[in-house]
Point group: C2
Chain length 764, copies 2
Amino acid sequence: MSLQLPSEVPVSIETVRVRKENVRDVIILCVSVSAAQKWMYGGLHNNILLQYLAWVTYPVVLITFSAGFTQILAPQAVGSGIPEMKTILRGVVLKEYLTFKTFVAKVIGLTCALGSGMPLGKEGPFVHVASLCAALLSKFMALFGGIYLVRCRNTEMLSAACAVGVGCCFAAPIGGVLFSIEVTSTFFAVRNYWRGFFAATFSAFIFRVLAVWNKDEETITALFKTRFRLDFPFDLQELPAFAVLGIASGFGGALFVYLNRIIVESMRKQKTINKFLLKKRLVYPAVVTLLVSTLTFPPGFGQFMAGQLTQHESLVALFDNQTWYKQGVAEEFVYSSEVPQAWKHPQVGVFITLLLFIVMKFWMSALATTMPVPCGAFMPVFLIGAAFGRLVGESMAAVFPEGIHADSTVYPIVPGAYAVVGAAALSGAVTHTVSTAVIVFELTGQISHILPVMIAVILANAVAQSLQPSLYDSIIRIQKLPYLPELGWGQEKYNIRVEDIMVRDVRYITLSSSYRDLQEALITGQLKTLALVESKESMILLGSMERSQLQSLLSQQLSRARRLEYLRERAQDNGTHVPTFPQDSPSRTGCGVRFLVCYIKSVYITFVLGTFNSFTFFLKKCIFQIAEWEEQQLDEAVNFNNCKIDPAPFQLVERTSLHKTHTIFSLLGLDHAYVTSTGRLVGVVSLKELRKAIEGSVTVTGVKVRPPLASFRDSGNNSSVSEVTELHKLWSRNRSLLLPREPNLPDLDDQTETQRTCREHDAK
Amino acid sequence: MSLQLPSEVPVSIETVRVRKENVRDVIILCVSVSAAQKWMYGGLHNNILLQYLAWVTYPVVLITFSAGFTQILAPQAVGSGIPEMKTILRGVVLKEYLTFKTFVAKVIGLTCALGSGMPLGKEGPFVHVASLCAALLSKFMALFGGIYLVRCRNTEMLSAACAVGVGCCFAAPIGGVLFSIEVTSTFFAVRNYWRGFFAATFSAFIFRVLAVWNKDEETITALFKTRFRLDFPFDLQELPAFAVLGIASGFGGALFVYLNRIIVESMRKQKTINKFLLKKRLVYPAVVTLLVSTLTFPPGFGQFMAGQLTQHESLVALFDNQTWYKQGVAEEFVYSSEVPQAWKHPQVGVFITLLLFIVMKFWMSALATTMPVPCGAFMPVFLIGAAFGRLVGESMAAVFPEGIHADSTVYPIVPGAYAVVGAAALSGAVTHTVSTAVIVFELTGQISHILPVMIAVILANAVAQSLQPSLYDSIIRIQKLPYLPELGWGQEKYNIRVEDIMVRDVRYITLSSSYRDLQEALITGQLKTLALVESKESMILLGSMERSQLQSLLSQQLSRARRLEYLRERAQDNGTHVPTFPQDSPSRTGCGVRFLVCYIKSVYITFVLGTFNSFTFFLKKCIFQIAEWEEQQLDEAVNFNNCKIDPAPFQLVERTSLHKTHTIFSLLGLDHAYVTSTGRLVGVVSLKELRKAIEGSVTVTGVKVRPPLASFRDSGNNSSVSEVTELHKLWSRNRSLLLPREPNLPDLDDQTETQRTCREHDAK
């Protein structure tokens, strides 16, 4: 760790600087847009229709523009970006996700989406924007050479960027780092930890300093500062209420994820709707926005759910340290003078307002986050959680108006604290993270409720994790991004081995392969790399080669230059006239034709030939000659001399357990690994097989079924036994390797032998 | 993640319960012991000599008892335990560190050490105690079978236990989890994160609930609750002061680690002292305690350094929100009525007292933590940091008595906040962690100073990490525990490859090995496992076998039963009389003799023969026969049939970069890995070689030198080039592998070839 400072500092600071600009832009634009809407709406207080139009038009126009803009410029900018970042940090290359175009689309699209006042969040997009900054900066810095060229540094940069994204979204450096680790990583290198903190602290600092420079604040404080009493934050007897709040939030979080997925999936399944929406991409966001903004229209239904408040205002009100239910109870610790009027409807009580707010916002948020604009779901969920917590808190205050007695002194219940706990719990449940607890401490500037928050968040996580995947994992599955599910903790996991799941029919090329074999392997193989073995008989794995390498080898062999060379030679041998093809001679037409032939041959666009009638005879001759030549060429042995080979592809052994395989895949971010037996290639395992094997046992909804492969196997207690084998077995397998392999060794034989081994071992 | 709850909950809760008992014991004992000392000291206020004796006797007796007790019962209980836990979590098995004996020794030794009032901490021992609880619980639960038998679960339990240890020491669940991750892990599985939080939250809860049940507190609050103002925690213009405080703490932290190491090393080097201390182990702790307690004697020198305060009292005073320098300035936010009198000496000012406190405590803590008792260094360092911060804060308050003006309002400076920042920064610098920031928030219950704390901690870390290893790493090096240093970030690291550092002269056994080869391999090899290759010619790696396996094979072959069998057969062949050795017959003497012969043969204690004069002739004959027989036996080929082989030892390829090797070693906690080239064993890399290679470039003090191996090598910009090789090279190496290998290929040849490869690549 000792020497990382000099290399890291400039980047982080620059990242932060770039971030700063974005943050400022976004904030100023959002504020001014919201202000414009309010001003327009306020100025028209006589005519309710005009008011309605003013209230509705702004969001619809902004969201439609945002959707259209991102659609045209970079469709990758749509959505939160955290699922994609998680995939990228796993080592998968997602094209176009980290380009300048996406950056522009994301920043402008996000600004408009946030300005619309829809229940959309910004934490996910901020993570994406920060990662974009980091990637672009890395690319820029790489021009000057040095450390930025090393590929693994980029991953480190990106993981720091994720921390920056969350950190400056909430002005929460610690929570930002932890949240970004939880949502994007499976294994985390502690040496990157320090960088994350460094970058996130600066980003949070700059973000909050802007408020001071703008004279909004006197000094740097928390974003949603609370003023709960410090001496007696909560009574021990309130803890069960907090626990119940946590458990309920867990169910709520799972429901939110489920609802979100159901909306997307039902849209996709309805073919007519789907077709229509694919054609008119802007209709869906416009309709959704219209619906949501109509329902929140303050003189309409909005009056029952504090519709005129922005997310920020709602949150400030919900974290308020007064009791709304019965004002005056909490007088002694009233700091802010104004009671949040929006929540007090003359006809209906606070409870109804809160309940309506929660229910309406719940489905609105789940719906709004499916719109194709850059948006996150964290903040809306956080807000719903806060409202839910406030509801529980107000109920508690109503039930115990004098507070729960602790000895002699009366300490009234603080519903605002419940709001804080609820916010942390619900957002933790939706994202499957514990660090939302830290985020709320940093957001509110108070840590006195640490125990209730921690207990609620942990319980919410426990419930939500056993019911649904996290929101980000859910999106990953919806978008069919490559991912690796978490391993469940059933005992049987330790009894599946690589040999059970590997693909035995590996595509490979040998040292003596002809170009024809190469062509075949390229056509039939799916993986990005092909295995290179010594010979078909020995199957000793020498390394792996990238597809592109092989493709270039093949095209080199059949290249135009070589073909011309051949034709010329042939012509000279036959003594017939042949064009010599000097540069800029008229016979370049012929050359063009030959190029066409090659083109035709490969993509079979035969109809093009019709337009070249005059060349038909010549072409036919050429085609025949060339086809013959190509056949010849394809039969030649491949010359690997100028070819780059990775001599260290990742290898597993047949007996490696699924658990170990999963660990190694997720640790090293592998896409596939070869399975070897004493140096001989016997199979290949890719992410797909691994995923299937794991999901055979843990389904999406978390219901556990026996994995199909383990049912044949004795689930002995000691897993270490199954990884150690007896030599005579190993040896007999070796012998069988020298013979032509059967595609699938019978699993049952293997099984009985393992059982015997176990029994022998137990008997000792 | 979805199914981890049911399996984890019972353990964590039980762990916590066990912990609870310890915590209570320790606290009650410490408090009562301290009270006894104070009472005795207070009751003797007329006679200063008796006072001195009372003041000094208690610590000396307690520390001596603690040292003696741990020495006798379990010397493994000495020290903090974090370095050992770090080593254990790396996958190294340290014997006796997780036994019940150690547990008893640690708990009792720690209680006495803490009760002595010496500057010793309890966070490290708590981590060890919690881990002991976890290990013992796992062992206990394993009796009932199930999940606890799986080895990798134990690691998970231990990592959760570390979090519990820190968490209940400071009542800081979040900080505890993060701190334990930072000090014990290199790579962290995010799926364990949740468990850590779960366990640590419960431990912190139980720890703090005890205070409520004991009626010490009304409800659960922070351990060292501060009451800084919330509206304007600090001025932006104070940030440079905080930054300076952080940087100074960084230097201080590095100095502390250096001082601690120097003390230990100088004691070891002075041979006469060392000899004396090894004989009289209790003298050293007694002398140190005497020295320290004499200097803190309140009527003596102690009056200038608040000697009569315990660590807890000092810390409460230092975090006080008043200004000591000039009372009255901070009147408006005085909560606690009493001014800490201990810090106000009538003759000398607060500055002198603080300065003396810092200087004296600094070397005292560094000295005291070298005593052979269970103790940690975190708390003493934390205290020194707080004092240093208070000193800076008081100076600031003296320089700006009216506070730094922010617009119109006057906000006086809060020196207590500087104390908090200083404590976090210094402890962060000594331990190389950022999470001390989170710990102080949880300890003080206030998070309003998040930015100053984060900035100071990060700067302190940056400085300390570039000067010295962390205290725990320093202890690991002193104790010569197996460890893997962090990779520095020099470019040249990417240019060392496994082939440069591997040991080419690997000990191996082949399928056709005789028992004699086995014996030789066992004698000359150092590693815990031996490689099994197909044959000497092919060198194809089949797997690895544990030493113990081979030893039992060997001893089976030369076993007494087989020897007797042979003798009997031989005797029957010759027709001579031979004892038939029925059970309980008198001829068992002969049997005993033969056993002796075997014994003699192996350890060459020939003089024993003299006492068996009557058996001399018989013996000589036997010895000859047996020697002959053994020679025969040793020449037989090994029968591996009943032998367990690990078919998947970890393999690297020659071209694997040092960086990748380091990552894989630290990720998977490897001890050694075989280096293979297309399935053929060509070398082995163990932790030792890796350590040497890394430390060749980064020395202990952090000064960077060029690694010896990289100096020959072109440090081209693109590291990916060096991992991809050209086939003709690979191929020619393959051929050379078939020939008998040279023990050390000339590095230079290789080098020039690599250079050529790079250049060719660059030229393209």
